[in-house]
């Protein structure tokens, strides 16, 4: 196989490692090889003054017995070290007759992130030129800009996954991310904001249009803060702008539908499959198939193809997000949601790109329907307690809505609610779905994975807004 050379492997060595993993009578196992190269260049203080590179290479071996997992990894791909890792992971099994390893055959997966200009062929001077040009564009755009930082990063990840049933999948997973950060001064006051984009693409992502949009966003998001104040405190109607407000779905619903939490009975959505949990018109999906999206994957990290999973269909809870362990538990097919941060971490059910499908209202109709409330434009982070169902997300800026119109800008406010309660009170869904292009990263059990999120404009009857009374 051509990609064996990527890792310096032979088929015989892989078979030996899998045999060791299964030697004590495990139900299943996988070997996950990863080779990662990343580069970043950053500008601050008027100079392209920092670069970094990172190389990571290793093997993770997982051994599964029922719902139990034994895990080990090594950064040393010598046969001796790989076999030792497999033997350590196999200790989870009590001892029994080993399962045979089937003939290994390579599976082809969809190619959702073809790269036109691969990063391997981009030299440092080109990267330096890009971050420098973004800085110049930003300074030129507004005289109030006092400091600019720009950054460009790319990662090439090669993974090879082999299973005892003979499935072998190779995937090349590119990623690039860039940001522009602005500090501006106006009438003696300072404000700062940033904009970033991230996709599974080569350098072709940074077209003039794309870069201009990023710079405009960084400037607009900074300048609006000079006019913004604190919103009032307490429960109120909240309209979420299209795009990155998908963070609400990620926190309020997405995590709670990851099947490991339900298998353990600790999610507020456990035992609710088939039940209505949202009004008609609310359809929420987790989709690993969007072209070039940061959260997209050709294969999940268990060698299952990624798919578009409908979690809530017209208000009815249809599916959790499954890895193979939870899929076996629930006797359903895995949804291609088994993901891991790196070869150092075992697979968990994770989100990919989470979004709500379009409804029928125009954004203008939705805003016009609100007497008093707030409109949320940009977000930074969120969190959830999957059992209690309480979740929160932080709004960088937005607007007050008064008598059906956007009025005074607001900034820096945490919004908190309860997932199931909020879902029940989704009142209007817009027709303007937008998948955010920002560099979102999701954390779970100490593992970070890249995700995407999206949303049409949506109106929620009430959420608790952390403003000033």
């Amino acid at each position: 196989m051509p990609w064996f050379s990527q890792f310096g492997l032979t088929e015989a060595a892989i078979r030996q490692v899998l045999n060791d993993a299964l030697a004590r009578g495990a139900d299943d196992a996988d070997v996950y090889f990863e080779h990662l190269n990343s580069t970043s260049v950053a500008l601050s203080d008027g100079k392209v003054n920092r670069a970094s590179t990172n190389v990571d290479l290793g093997l993770g071996v997982r051994v599964v017995v029922g719902d139990s997992v034994g895990y080990a990894y090594t950064e040393d791909l010598s046969l001796a070290s790989m076999r030792e890792a497999a033997q350590v992971a196999a200790e989870i099994a009590a001892g029994g007759s080993p399962r045979p390893v089937a003939a290994i055959t390579s599976r082809r997966m969809a190619d959702r992130y073809p790269v036109t200009k691969p990063w391997e062929k981009v030299d440092m001077a080109t990267r330096v030129g890009l971050v420098r040009s973004w800085e110049q564009m930003t300074f030129a755009a507004d005289p109030r800009v006092k400091k600019v930082e720009t950054m460009l990063a790319d990662t090439q990840k090669h993974v090879l996954i082999v299973r005892p049933d003979g499935r072998m999948v190779y995937d090349y997973q590119p990623m690039t991310r860039a940001f522009v950060s602005v500090t501006a001064e106006s009438h003696g006051k300072k404000e700062s904001a940033m904009a970033n984009i991230a996709q599974r693409q080569g350098i072709e992502l940074y077209s003039d249009d794309q870069v201009q949009a990023m710079v405009k966003k960084a400037i607009d998001h900074t300048m609006i803060l000079f006019e913004a104040g604190k919103p009032p405190a307490g429960e109120m109607t909240v309209v979420l702008g299209a795009g990155s407000s998908g963070i609400l779905l990620h926190e309020a619903i997405g995590h709670g539908l990851e099947a490991d939490f339900n298998r353990k009975n600790i999610s507020i959505y456990a035992d609710k499959i088939g039940q209505r949990i949202a009004p008609k018109g609310v359809t929420v999906v987790d989709d690993g198939t969007l072209p070039w999206a940061r959260g997209s994957i050709n294969t999940d990290d268990e060698a299952n193809p990624a798919e578009k999973t409908v979690m809530i269909e017209d208000g009815i809870l249809r599916s959790y997000l499954h890895d193979e362990i939870s899929a076996r538990h629930y006797k359903v097919a895995p949804t291609g949601s088994g993901r891991r941060e790196s070869f150092r971490s075992p697979v968990l059910p994770r989100m990919r790109a989470t979004y709500m499908e379009n409804g029928s209202y125009s954004p203008e109709e939705i805003i016009a329907s609100v007497q008093n409330g707030i409109y949320c434009s940009t977000f930074s982070n969120g969190q959830v307690q999957i059992g209690a169902g309480d979740f929160a997300f932080y709004v960088r800026h937005g607007y007050l809505i008064e008598n059906g119109k956007l009025t005074r800008p607001i900034k820096d406010v945490n919004i908190i609610g309860n997932g199931p309660k909020v879902l029940e009170t989704v009142q209007m869904v817009g027709n303007d779905l937008e998948i955010d292009i920002g560099g979102w990263t999701c954390g779970k059990d100490g593992q970070s994975v890249p995700v995407s999120q999206g949303m049409p404009t949506v109106k929620v009857e009430k959420l608790s807004v952390g403003g000033a009374a």
Partner: protein, 449 residues
């Protein structure tokens, strides 16, 4: 399982010296190399079964380079000699494409070294190497048995117990002559449990403890009991009316509020004009009752260290003393950029001096007080100092808990919150690098219904 040969740190030292010398040969003027190796083991049990067992030894090298005053940093886990050489060649080459900054030059070697002897820091538990797989398995079973022995076990719908430990060694070699070796161990234990209440909510709670020495961890019954108490505090919770309330912030949760000062104190934020504390060194930023110290020299401290990122000898410093801002966090690079003296680029242990009274005594004297036990989401704006966090906790009235709280936020400002500080309790929390007692603030803005 790692690529390095030999067991002791001498092999790490050899690897670091070789990489240092090779990078110099390839054209770097100044090099700093760190090589570290760690072994970690973790176990998780649920419903009477081992749910996950993980074990690995990890080896990594990181290097920062100065080539003609151009700076870059790199890391790799591929330490095969031919791969390492190619890695360093690429790293040196990449650096040449950048722009020079003399501020990146290494510190005078005479200022670098070990601040506190290793035997005083005492971060390495020598009993670690004698721990066997069966010792760990037995401890995990004991922890699970402690949960099963709780009087209300039948109300817990799921409980997961976990324990983990690690041993790590690292060496660092710099062109300025600095050579350092450090070893440490870490032990952690946790209990996570979920209860169910009418209406379908399944509130969850945790107890988690970490320490350098196994003998410093609390016993298994304490962990189980604490997780239960915290879970009970989350039953039938909800918001109360928005308004200003006194706040008692539990010791283990204090880091979130103390942390609002962290960003604005950092050299990078000061230099980028993103700090609400710029120009405030020597100024009053809080109540005269409030002090905060940075101390890397505390024996067995979670955040203790022999040297910092610049390899400066680690030493204690006041951050805020009697309400007056004493020091920023300035690495050598940002100190040079800002024309100030370096302190340290990052915090070690944060210490808030404890007070005289117990939490119970303090609460008894307060007609109404919100006890904050944890946070949910939230963030801040270091330029303006504004912050807003989701909270969970309890309403106390004259020393009695009268409601469990959730779906509420607090909001405030870095330049105001420490003026609202009233009192420290006598219960410093020692299982974190934030060694704070429970803290009382007056008139904090809460939003609920």
């Amino acid at each position: 399982m790692s690529g390095a040969s030999g067991a002791g740190s001498s092999s790490l030292m050899n690897a670091a010296v070789e990489a240092h010398d090779l990078a110099r040969t390839l054209g770097a003027d100044e090099v700093s190399v760190s090589v570290s190796r760690s072994s970690e083991i973790s176990l998780q049990r649920r419903a009477g079964k081992l749910e996950q067992s993980q074990r690995a030894t990890s080896l990594g090298l990181s290097v920062s380079l100065l080539v003609g005053d151009r700076f870059s940093s790199h890391s790799t886990s591929d330490l095969r000699p031919e791969a390492l050489r190619a890695f360093l060649e690429r790293a040196v080459d990449a650096t040449r494409a950048l722009e020079p900054e003399a501020e990146r030059r290494q510190a005078d070697g005479a200022l670098c070294g070990r601040g506190t002897p290793d035997e005083v820091l005492d971060q390495n538990d020598s009993t670690w190497s004698a721990l066997s797989a069966s010792d760990r398995g037995e401890k995990a079973r004991e922890l699970e048995a402690a949960v099963d022995a709780l009087p209300h076990r039948n109300r817990i719908i799921s409980a997961t117990v976990a324990l983990g430990d690690s041993s790590s060694e690292s060496v660092r070699v710099m062109t300025n002559g600095f050579v350092g070796e450090h070893r440490g161990t870490a032990f952690g234990m946790s209990v996570e449990m979920t209860l169910e209440e009418p209406g379908g909510r399944r509130p969850e709670a945790w107890s988690h403890y970490g320490a350098n020495h196994q003998s410093d961890l609390p016993n298994v019954a304490f962990l189980a009991d604490e997780a239960w108490k915290r879970a009970e505090q989350r039953l039938a919770s909800g918001p109360i009316a928005s308004g200003r309330y006194p706040m008692l912030l539990e010791n283990h949760a204090a880091g979130r509020i103390l942390g609002v000062i962290g960003g604005p104190l950092s050299g990078s934020e000061l230099h980028q004009g993103r700090s609400c504390l710029a120009g405030k060194k020597g100024a009053v930023i809080g109540s005269s009752k409030f002090s905060l110290y940075d101390d890397p020299t505390i024996p067995r401290g979670i955040g203790s260290r022999p040297w910092d990122g610049d390899a400066f000898r680690a030493r204690p410093m006041p951050v805020v003393e009697s309400g007056v801002l004493q020091n920023y966090y300035l690495s050598l690079y940002y100190a040079r950029k800002l024309g100030m003296d370096p302190t340290s680029g990052g915090r070690s242990n944060w210490v808030v001096p404890p007070g005289q009274r117990s939490v119970a005594a303090i609460l008894k004297d307060m007609p109404k007080c919100i006890v904050v036990t944890g946070f949910l989401g939230g963030n801040g704006n270091g330029v303006t100092g504004d912050f807003s966090y989701g909270i969970q906790g309890m309403l106390y009235e004259n020393g009695e808990a009268t409601a469990n709280l959730s779906e509420m936020n607090i909001s405030g400002n870095v330049l105001e919150i420490f003026h609202q500080f009233e009192e420290s309790a006598n219960d410093p929390y020692l299982y974190s690098s934030v060694r704070s007692p429970s803290l009382v603030f007056d008139g904090v803005q809460f939003s609920g219904v």
